[in-house]
């Protein structure tokens, strides 16, 4: 792993180019609607990457991230509406609080494995949705919360601001994933993902690692939720705590490829604009639902690794078969089989 953090100029080129494009995009997005979709895409990229901190590093698929998103959103919303904390910085404690709550339930939740865990995460969404609907005094019940516009600027300007907010969050989330994956913990996580018990029997503290991934994933998701509350301003428990939402996020990561840094972003890039387009054209989210479902089935059966590995396989087939000579091998740069990380 000694070359893990060496800055490979070629590999850094693509992300930098993307970063430039991303930073300048709002200039080219002229209509309010396009700006909205751009910001929304970034938001989903962030959430999907945050999801992948758990899903990709540990292999624990969560269908319950809506609980964390909603919690962060409501925390921020309540802070603004009831505690009069009308500032963007309120997202930070909201995210932190989400992490704390995740830490409390994580110890129990992570005792469940594989299939049970998936179902257990569903219960998290159900329960938090019910709490949001039942605790009317705090959360406004099924009517939800309407967060006032704390910036005093028109919506189109708001979209641009939050475009950059989500861009910053995305960078933070991507860096978190990247740093973990590149560190010595990255190998430990990959081992845990493949065979948790074997990893533990080799001395890897699997419970601690899982907890860290879970809490980080939840906090960042909550952070995004809090930002969403300040931006979108309508917190409806039906949307924010919906299973469909959780499913979309998981689908984005699975579609792009959970073993890769950019997998979730790619998945979000594919699904979000197309989803919005469908919503725009047909005025209904049901088609989106049906397509998500079908896509999930296709991805699982046909592309279990996601799009990125499938593309890599296509490229790899054109490479020359590598020599068996061991000395020649050691001179070649080591490429891990756990996935090419840019």
């Amino acid at each position: 792993m000694s070359d893990a953090l060496r800055f490979d100029k070629r590999r850094a080129a693509l992300p930098l180019a993307l970063a430039c494009v991303a930073a300048l995009l709002p200039i080219f997005a002229t209509s309010s609607y396009l700006r909205f979709v751009a910001a929304l895409t970034l938001m989903y990229m962030t959430v999907a990457t945050a999801w992948n901190i758990l899903g990709g590093l540990t292999g624990y698929v969560s269908l319950g991230h809506a609980a964390f998103f909603g919690f962060g959103a409501y925390a921020a919303g309540i802070a603004v509406v009831r505690l009069d904390l009308a500032h963007t910085w309120v997202v930070l404690p909201a995210g932190l609080l989400t992490g704390v709550v995740a830490g409390l339930i994580g110890r129990a939740a992570l005792r469940a494995r594989a299939g049970s865990f998936v179902i257990l995460t569903l219960t998290l969404v159900y329960i938090s949705g019910l709490v949001a609907q039942g605790w009317r005094g705090l959360t406004g019940g099924s009517r939800g919360i309407i967060v006032p516009n704390i910036y005093g600027v028109p919506r189109t300007e708001l979209h641009v601001r939050f475009y950059y907010v989500f861009l910053a969050l995305l960078v933070v989330t991507l860096m978190t994933w990247w740093v973990i994956r590149r560190s010595r913990f990255g190998l430990a996580f990959m081992a845990l993902r493949d065979d948790e018990d074997r990893a533990e029997s080799l001395g890897i503290p699997t419970t601690t690692l899982k907890m860290c991934a879970f809490v980080l994933s939840a906090s960042l998701t909550g952070l995004a939720g809090a930002a969403y509350a300040l931006w979108f301003r309508l917190l409806d428990p039906g949307f924010v705590f919906s299973i469909g939402w959780s499913a979309s996020v998981a689908l984005m990561a699975l579609l792009g490829g959970t073993r890769h840094l950019w997998g979730p972003c790619l998945g979000a890039l594919i699904l979000v604009p197309s989803g919005e387009y469908l919503l725009h054209e047909f005025g209904t989210s049901e088609i989106h639902l049906a397509l998500s479902g079908a896509l999930l089935i296709v991805v699982v059966l046909v592309l279990p690794g996601g799009v990125i590995p499938a593309l890599q396989n296509l490229r790899a087939r054109r490479r020359i078969v590598e020599p068996f000579d061991e000395d020649a091998r050691s001179a070649m740069p080591r490429r891990t089989t756990a996935g090419v990380i840019p």
């Binding site: 000694s2 081992a191 018990d197 089989t337």
Partner: protein, 242 residues
């Protein structure tokens, strides 16, 4: 001082008594063997020692210190390594990465990157010895059963354990590699490390055993120096009248 002492271990699952008052001792620099028919409790014994199940009663002492109830990863950190009958590797990691995972717990703190390089070198050395060096970058899932078993041993050895538990290490492995394995075990013994092997057939590995314990249905039915006890079949014949 003995390295590991298991006293009067008892473990039942549902109605089945897997271990019924089992005593096992192993000193530093010793190679011990456990033989017995299927279902005699050999793997359960390993599970109890490594923290995968908690014995209902009895004690387990590692260098005098009780280890019952500790989690598997703590026991691994205390210096007990273990392989599985199925040749359990991480299928999506390369062979070399698999071995690196074995040394992961030793890489904490500063200088961990240097230690990682050491582990890589040590791992490659083991692989070369086993004739598997050219598989270093291949996903472990593509290896054959016998190859996986060998890599698993290397994976455990790289963690520098005090005690290595090997579960049928020679199954599926060709004769030449069995000899290599035997050589590795001799090096371990010379180094003061100990090995406990579950074995099912005689080989150059079994000829190394300092002492042997025979299990049947959770009970020890015979123990002694390896020279006194012959291959599994005759032992069973003699002690169980089978």
């Amino acid at each position: 001082m003995t390295l590991l002492r298991a006293g009067a271990l008892r473990r039942t699952f549902g109605g089945v008594t897997a271990l019924d008052g089992v005593d096992v001792e192993i000193a530093h620099g010793e190679i011990g063997g456990i033989i017995g028919p299927n279902g005699s409790g050999k793997t359960t014994l390993f599970d109890c020692i490594t923290g995968w199940c908690r014995p209902d009663s009895g004690d387990l002492l590692l260098e005098g210190r009780p280890i019952t109830g500790l989690s598997p990863h703590r026991i691994a950190r205390l210096g007990i390594g273990r392989t599985f009958q199925t040749g359990r590797l991480f299928p999506n990691l390369s062979v070399l990465e698999n071995i690196l995972v074995g040394g992961w717990q030793r890489q904490r703190g500063r200088g961990h990157r240097a230690r990682a390089s050491e582990t890589t070198e040590l791992g490659l050395a083991h692989l070369r010895r086993l004739g598997l060096a050219h598989f270093a970058d291949q996903p472990a899932g593509t290896l054959s059963y016998g190859q996986r078993k060998l890599v698993e041993v290397a994976q455990v050895l790289v963690g520098d354990p005090k005690l290595v538990l090997l579960d049928e290490p020679t199954a599926g492995v060709n004769a030449q590699n069995v000899d290599v394995l035997a050589g590795l075990l001799v090096d371990l013994r010379d180094n003061g490390q100990s090995v406990l092997i579950i074995e099912h057939e005689t080989s150059s590995v079994t000829s190394l055993l300092d002492h042997v314990v025979v299990l049947d249905r959770g009970r020890i039915v015979a123990r002694g120096a390896a020279s006194e006890i012959e291959s599994g079949a005759s032992v069973l014949e003699r002690h169980l009248g089978v």
